[in-house]
């Protein structure tokens, strides 16, 4: 980064060997197929991919998921079978059985190595079977865990309509559509609302600003909470990417503003900026009351909207969770790194009064996370906490040596290391839970702290028993 030369970062960055444990990025289908209700995810890979998904998703696998493996066999690898014909056969079957609005192909390590031209095959097949096919290369060669979602959303960003697309479609659709569909089309522009009584109220609520689209997949309840948070400031969220349905992807016009809700969406941000000509609002992420406030402030600032009442709101949340914060204040936490939420979580926990010796992270995009990194630094200064060392592509073996040397009060880590560390008297929290729990916005701060403090509360409950170390020698 050229910026780093002129304003040197006091934060220390390091890069290790990349021998660390994380989930394969294809795991993103687990939450994305649930988020996008009319989608079908087809993972084109081997038994290894299928085995991972089936075990990682646990009980979800039994709920007739809208995902499947296109399992490659020896004849596919050696090109004795025709890729196009094979994919066509499977996609036709999916269309017959499930009739989704979109099929997302997830490319894997194997399709990379044998160089299957998924991007080339998709448009042709799309025309043949009449269902949109989105291609995302979420493979373990290039990406870690949550970055899988990034590859899917980056591909989906190209499918968002512009208002010109909508306008071109309107007359045709209008004739055929019923009353409801017409109403829905009107509300797309965000100007005319269907119900006049509520419209009058709403119009006064929002300030006049450029359209804003938020990106990042969050459960429906959390998107509502964040949208309401912005509404309190008079900011209207035009749309979310992704929405509950593929057919509802938001309109993105050149010059519109976009903001991310998660730290692992750098490809999506790039795609929105470069290819959709949107303006990215670089903000810290709405994790923790401090992050949420900063996120709202950055967005309002970019849109030219004045904020009000945020300081009180943040303080009220802090007051309400003091019982939990007091459990972790002054304690140390070590992030082994596997899901890219680490910087935001560390920043929040430092604000809670914790010390962070090391933040492991699979991949560090200093541009996309610029505001978050700046806030981390500022938080350390304000809390008088030493700056953490940020380790990109960590080496788990080395990390374990460091953990055993410094004995942190809490290690946030994957399941592969959690039980062995606990057996050695080191308290752990399973990192994957942060990905699946609701942790965004003011409303979920308690849930977030619930996760972080759970091992502490467990320790308190078992305190007097005297069997912390449970290995021999």
């Amino acid at each position: 980064m050229t910026l780093a030369d002129t304003t040197p970062q006091p934060l220390e960055f390091d890069c290790e060997t990349g021998n660390y444990h994380t989930f394969c990025p294809i795991s993103c289908v687990a939450w994305l197929y649930q988020k996008i209700e009319d989608s079908f995810f087809l993972v084109i890979g081997t038994k290894t991919c299928g085995y991972f998904l089936q075990n990682a998703m646990g009980v979800m696998i039994f709920a007739e998921p809208r995902y499947a493996m296109a399992e490659l066999e020896e004849a596919d690898i050696s090109a004795q079978l025709n890729d196009y014909e094979e994919l066509k056969r499977l996609c036709e079957q999916i269309k017959r059985d499930r009739n989704p609005s979109v099929i997302v192909w997830i490319g894997t390590c194997t399709t990379e190595i044998i160089k299957t031209d998924l991007e080339g095959l998709a448009p042709k097949l799309e025309a043949d079977i009449g269902i949109p096919i989105v291609v995302a290369r979420a493979n373990g060669l290039d990406y870690a865990f949550t970055q899988g979602e990034d590859t899917v959303l980056a591909a989906m960003a190209q499918r968002c309509p512009t208002s010109a697309d909508i306008a071109a479609k309107t007359p045709v659709v209008e004739k055929a559509a019923d009353q409801n569909a017409v109403k829905k089309l009107f509300s797309f522009g965000g100007k005319k609302e269907a119900e006049p009584t509520e419209t009058a109220v709403e119009e006064t609520v929002y300030a006049d600003h450029e359209p804003l689209v938020l990106f990042g997949s969050l459960p429906g309840a959390v998107t509502t909470q964040l949208s309401l948070e912005l509404k309190k400031q008079g900011v209207k969220v035009t749309g979310w990417m992704p929405e509950q349905h593929y057919s509802d992807l938001p309109v993105i016009d050149p010059g519109n503003f976009v903001a991310g809700v998660n730290p692992f969406l750098s490809k999506t941000a790039t795609s929105l900026m470069r290819r959709r000509k949107a303006n990215l609002i670089n903000a810290p992420f709405p994790i923790g009351p401090d992050g949420t406030r900063a996120w709202v402030e950055h967005i309002c600032d970019a849109l030219g909207v004045e904020t009000h009442g945020l300081e009180e709101r943040e303080q009220k949340i802090w007051d309400s969770v003091e019982d939990y914060v007091s459990l972790i204040r002054g304690k140390s936490v070590f992030f082994m790194g596997d899901n890219l939420l680490e910087i935001s979580l560390a920043r929040f926990l430092i604000r809670c009064g914790m010390h962070v010796p090391e933040i492991g992270i699979p991949y560090m995009d200093k541009r996309y996370q610029k505001a978050e990194l700046a806030m981390l630094e500022r938080t350390c200064r304000e809390m008088n906490s030493p700056l953490p060392k940020i380790i990109e592509k960590p080496d788990n073996y080395n990390q374990l040596q460091r953990i055993h040397a410094i004995k942190p009060d809490l290690v946030i880590t994957g399941m592969a290391h959690a039980n062995p560390l606990e057996a050695r008297g080191i308290t752990t929290k399973w990192s994957v839970e942060f990905t699946f729990a609701n942790i965004h916005g003011f409303s979920n701060v308690r849930d977030l702290l619930e996760l972080v403090t759970r091992p502490m509360r467990r320790n308190e409950a078992l305190d007097s028993l005297g069997w912390e170390s449970l290995v021999k020698g």
Binding site: G18, N19, H21, T22, C24, P25, I26, I44, T48, G50, Y51, F52, Q54, N55, A56, I61, F62, A68, M69, A70, E71, L72, E73, E74, D76, I77, E86, L87, R89, L90, I94, C109, T110, E112, I113, I114, G140, L141, D142, Y143, A144, P219, A221, T224, Q225, L228, I317, D319, S320, L400, M415, A416, H417, N419, P420, A423, F442, S443, R446, V471
Partner: protein
């Protein structure tokens, strides 16, 4: 290409890793992309393992794709050798690395020069063998390697032990109830006056493999793991083996009689008839259960069985032969062992099903409408959907199938466990059925009456929509709390904002 949602046996490298991590002081290095080390999670979670799983990855990334692994694999091997000082490192290829066609053998040779430990390349083809076949192969490979090595060093132990002795082959990590089975088998051997020379691969040290030929014979409790090793030891050292799974009263007796025969051929004069009789009639409760009224009520009830070859075959025989239950069909996903399976179960069930397709298995269950299912976790879920009880008898399994309590499937205590498993599955089904006939529990209505039933509060559209997103089991509670909050705040109409304001207020 094949459209697939679920598989019964994992990819080949899982089999290799199960064998490698069963041994003491053996380390496996996978040649795999990031994220393929999910094995460690499974071992740590399912087995609740206290130690770090001795499996690491030499990561295949873009650079490796562009210019090959070069020094990387060798470096990772020598580094692990220096840090952990294992006896053996097994380089484990994955589906990804096998299509890269790098010369992994060459890496192993080069690493052997620098490393203090032995280095092996697991010899398994990812596109041709399953997890189970790969485990069998890897165990054979390791045993052969150390037998050859001992021969070269001249320190192989071929002299038989003074007392009758046995090697128990096939106990491995992530195996269905393997640790309990192992304890039960050792106990059985002690009762029979047989010394356990070695257990393989569980907790075995590779340096001790040279003493394998010391045992009088090998015992193979499972069909899936150990056959190749036993055949090899028979060919090399003329060691006899007993491959009758001691699961169920009749098969346990058959297994013990086979052991008796093997020992007597080796010059002993064992006679276990009295032991078998005493155990069968008075220690195990299974024989008595078969005569009891409880079991009489099960006569002719329909069951289906599905699982790996060992467990599905054994359970089928127990149901049909020892309990008079009608097994409508019995099936396995071990396609490679089809002939053996057919031969084992044909006379005990109406039909045999060989399939790896869970959809087909599910459809067959629906069509059969049995009173009970004995299968894997997948069949348990089919049972849930169809309201048919299911006893889990085989992998693939969940954490609940790694019980902490003593639950062997083999030997005489195993017969007791199986009686409980089978009888409890049936009675639960009966209870359910009776409940339905008599109208079920009648308390439902009273429970759901809440104070908010006649509330003066209105819910706005978005408020109701938001409430609908809350998971069912807490929705009523959230509704009550929100309405209480709204009343306290004098809010007339509850919106989505009110809902979340209530959440924040109450969480304080």
């Amino acid at each position: 290409m094949k459209l697939a949602y679920w598989m019964y046996s994992g990819p080949a490298h899982i089999g290799t890793l199960r064998v490698a991590s069963s041994f003491k002081n053996v380390h496996a290095i996978m040649h795999a992309p990031l994220g393929d080390d999910y094995f460690n999670v499974m071992r740590s979670m399912l087995e609740r393992e206290r130690d770090y799983t001795p499996v690491t990855t030499s990561v295949v990334d873009r650079n490796v794709l562009a210019r090959g692994s070069q020094e990387k694999v060798v470096d990772n091997i020598t580094r692990m050798d220096a840090a952990e000082k294992p006896d053996l490192i097994i380089l484990t290829p994955t589906c990804t690395s096998s299509i890269l066609q790098e010369d992994l053998n060459n890496f192993v040779e080069r690493a052997s020069f620098d490393a203090q430990c032995d280095v092996l390349l697991a010899d398994v083809n990812h596109y041709r063998v399953t997890e189970l076949q790969a485990a069998d192969r890897t165990l054979h490979q390791v045993v052969k390697f150390y037998i050859d090595k001992a021969r070269k060093h001249g320190d192989i132990v071929t002299e038989k032990s003074a007392k009758p002795s046995v090697n128990i082959i096939g106990i491995s990590t992530l195996g269905f109830h393997n640790n309990h089975d192992c304890t039960e088998l050792k106990r059985l051997m002690a009762d029979l006056g047989i010394e356990v020379n070695m257990v393989l691969p569980d907790q075995a040290s590779v340096e001790d493999l040279k003493t394998l030929p010391r045992a009088w014979f090998n015992l193979l409790p499972y069909r899936e793991l150990g056959c190749m090793t036993a055949e090899y030891l028979k060919a090399e050292f003329d060691m006899p083996y007993v491959d009758i799974t001691p699961m169920g009263v009749v098969e346990t007796a058959r297994c013990i009689r086979a052991i008796q025969q093997v020992l007597n051929q080796g010059g002993s004069d064992a006679n276990y008839d009295e032991f078998i009789d005493e155990q069968t009639r008075f220690v195990s409760q299974a024989a008595w259960f078969s005569r009891s009224i409880d079991c009489q009520n099960l006569t002719g009830k329909k069951a289906v069985v599905y699982g790996d070859a060992t467990h599905a075959a054994a359970i089928t025989k127990i149901l049909a032969r020892e309990m008079g239950i009608q097994v409508v069909w019995s099936g396995t996903f071990c396609k490679h062992d089809e002939d053996w399976f057919r031969e084992q179960v044909s006379e005990y069930c109406d039909e045999v099903l060989i399939s790896e397709d869970h959809g087909e298995v599910g459809d067959r269950i629906a069509k059969t409408e049995p009173a009970v299912i004995f299968g894997t976790q997948m069949e348990r879920h089919v049972g849930k959907r169809l309201n048919i009880p299911c006893g889990v008898i085989s992998a693939p399994i969940h954490v609940q199938n790694f019980p902490v309590g003593y639950r062997p499937m083999v030997g005489y205590e195993g017969t007791n466990q199986l009686v409980d498993l089978i009888y409890n599955s049936f009675t639960l089904g009966m209870e359910d059925h009776l409940m339905e006939i008599f109208g079920g529990h009648d308390t439902k209505e009273a429970i759901t009456q809440t104070i908010s039933a006649d509330a003066d509060l209105a819910w706005s559209k978005d408020g109701s929509a938001e409430l609908a997103k809350i998971p069912g089991f807490v929705r009523n509670k959230v509704k009550r709390n929100t309405e209480k909050f709204a009343r306290d705040q004098h809010i007339q109409k509850i919106t989505a904002e009110t809902l979340y304001a209530a959440k924040e207020a109450l969480s304080g």
